[in-house]
């Protein structure tokens, strides 16, 4: 399936280079949702994610004539989007904006969900259990926000985009072993956070 997708991408790129600019529309249709998902994961903001996707495809459009095809089109455009997301994240951070606006949205939705669950006592778990779960998720989010950027990025690509280690390694231009290690370390930090939830948590420094 992946091979088919890759082959189709190659055909579309070839058509584009031959002068059929409409072929790029197909490439957008095939990859925009994945890019949006990854960007949203990295930025936590819908508007920023949309801007990143647009910029990434614009750059791809301009650079496609010189695209040599060393990597697949998907990897290439995804790498552009990740770099743009990284820059935007840093810029947001410098600007002092709340990095993850959706955290509050998320909290709100958790609370709403909790209320909904509590309103249907027959089917819902016990209220204590729901609250505990919500608290745990909240804790994971806080810990996740404090992860080093590379670990966050790697975990998003794995958990949200369901990318294989191989693909992540290609995107991040590192070895598969590094990806494996990053994911494991990220998970370990979050797990420790969960274990120590409610206590004075200190995330151990990472050497990345």
């Amino acid at each position: 399936m992946d091979a088919d997708n890759k082959k189709r991408d190659e055909e579309l790129v070839k058509e584009f280079k031959a002068g059929n600019k409409e072929a790029f529309d197909d490439l957008i249709g095939r990859h925009a949702p994945k890019l949006y998902q990854a960007s949203f994961g990295l930025l936590g903001n819908r508007q920023d994610a949309e801007e990143v996707v647009q910029d990434a495809f614009l750059r791809a459009y301009k650079g496609l004539e010189n695209f040599r095809g060393d990597a697949s089109f998907e990897t290439w455009v995804c790498r552009i989007a990740i770099n743009l997301s990284r820059n935007k994240y840093q810029w947001n951070k410098r600007r002092g904006a709340e990095l993850n606006l959706s955290i509050s949205e998320h909290r709100q939705s958790l609370e709403e969900n909790s209320n909904e669950d509590m309103a249907i006592p027959d089917k819902a778990p016990a209220p204590d259990s729901v609250l505990e779960k919500a608290e745990a998720e909240k804790g994971i989010m806080e810990a996740f926000e404090n992860l080093p950027e590379t670990l966050r990025e790697t975990m998003i690509l794995r958990h949200i985009n369901n990318m294989s280690y191989e693909k992540i390694a290609e995107l991040q231009e590192c070895k598969e072993g590094t990806v494996k290690s990053r994911i494991a370390r990220g998970r370990e930090i979050l797990r420790e956070y969960l274990i120590n939830a409610g206590t004075d948590i200190k995330i151990r420094p990472l050497e990345d």
Partner: protein
């Protein structure tokens, strides 16, 4: 395998990146401790998916396509190659400077004309074949139109008649000149009149009409009288062709007025 593998292996197992037949995989699948870790990973996975998975906007693809088309078209419209831009700027500057130069020269001309007409006494005169005319008028006439058709050149007739004598001239004992006359038949009587006016004795004046076109005049007179005669001839409408002295604008050198001079003039009939 009794000992649990490290978290990196468990993590890889969770992600399906570990060979399912490997001893580590077999251990993890049956170990309650490892199961707890796997459960915590599942919780994380769920929490992250819950937070970071969002609904893809329905019109995302169309929006991206539209934005790209708009931005590409906008960039095409404004993108002028740098050398072309430079050329355009240079051409604009050149045209602007030419217009500026033309306008400023027009204004300057106007100012010069105004100044010249308001202060005629300050203007220099120039003498020569064109007669005595103001210098600025001469220059302007030379650059604007043929001298003959310019009124500025015909105007100084009065100045010619009343023009001051600027320079004294030393005459030899014998002088020959050529004049142009409009009427050869009346020449003898006119010359007699002018000679009388200049105080020249009719006995020393001899005029001969050669044919209908030329005449010769021989006179013996003083140098002072010759200067007066020449000026009278000029003022009477004769045109002096010879460049040598005495010229109508010149005056006799002091102390030589009474010296004798033999004067020979040839008169040629000219047409209007």
């Amino acid at each position: 395998m009794k000992q649990c593998p490290d978290n990196e292996v468990i993590s890889a197992y969770y992600d399906g990146e570990l060979d399912g037949e490997s001893p580590e995989a077999l251990h993890i699948s049956s170990c309650p401790e490892c199961a707890k870790i796997l459960e915590s990973y599942a919780d994380m996975d769920k929490a992250l998916k819950n937070k970071f998975t969002c609904e893809i906007p329905a019109n995302l693809t169309e929006k991206v396509k539209k934005t790209i088309r708009r931005r590409i078209n906008a960039e095409k419209r404004i993108s002028i190659p740098f050398p072309v831009l430079l050329l355009r700027i240079a051409a604009s500057l050149f045209i602007a400077s030419v217009i500026l130069f033309y306008v400023s020269s027009l204004v300057k001309d106007r100012e010069t004309e105004t100044a010249a007409s308001s202060k005629p006494e300050t203007r220099k005169n120039v003498s020569g074949g064109l007669g005595i005319i103001p210098f600025e008028d001469y220059v302007k006439a030379s650059f604007r139109a043929p001298p003959v058709s310019t009124p500025l050149l015909t105007a100084p007739d009065t100045a010619n008649r009343t023009g001051k004598i600027e320079k004294s001239a030393v005459l030899p004992d014998k002088v020959s000149q050529v004049w142009v006359t409009r009427n050869i038949e009346k020449l003898p009587s006119l010359i007699s009149t002018l000679a009388a006016k200049a105080g020249i004795s009719p006995a020393n004046t001899n005029i001969t009409i050669n044919d209908g076109n030329t005449a010769n005049l021989d006179m013996k007179l003083s140098k002072g009288q010759l200067f007066n005669f020449v000026r009278l001839c000029k003022n009477s409408g004769f045109e002096l062709l010879s460049p040598q002295a005495p010229q109508p604008e010149q005056k006799v050198q002091q102390g030589t007025e009474n010296e004798d001079v033999n004067y020979n003039a040839s008169f040629v009939l000219g047409h209007n």
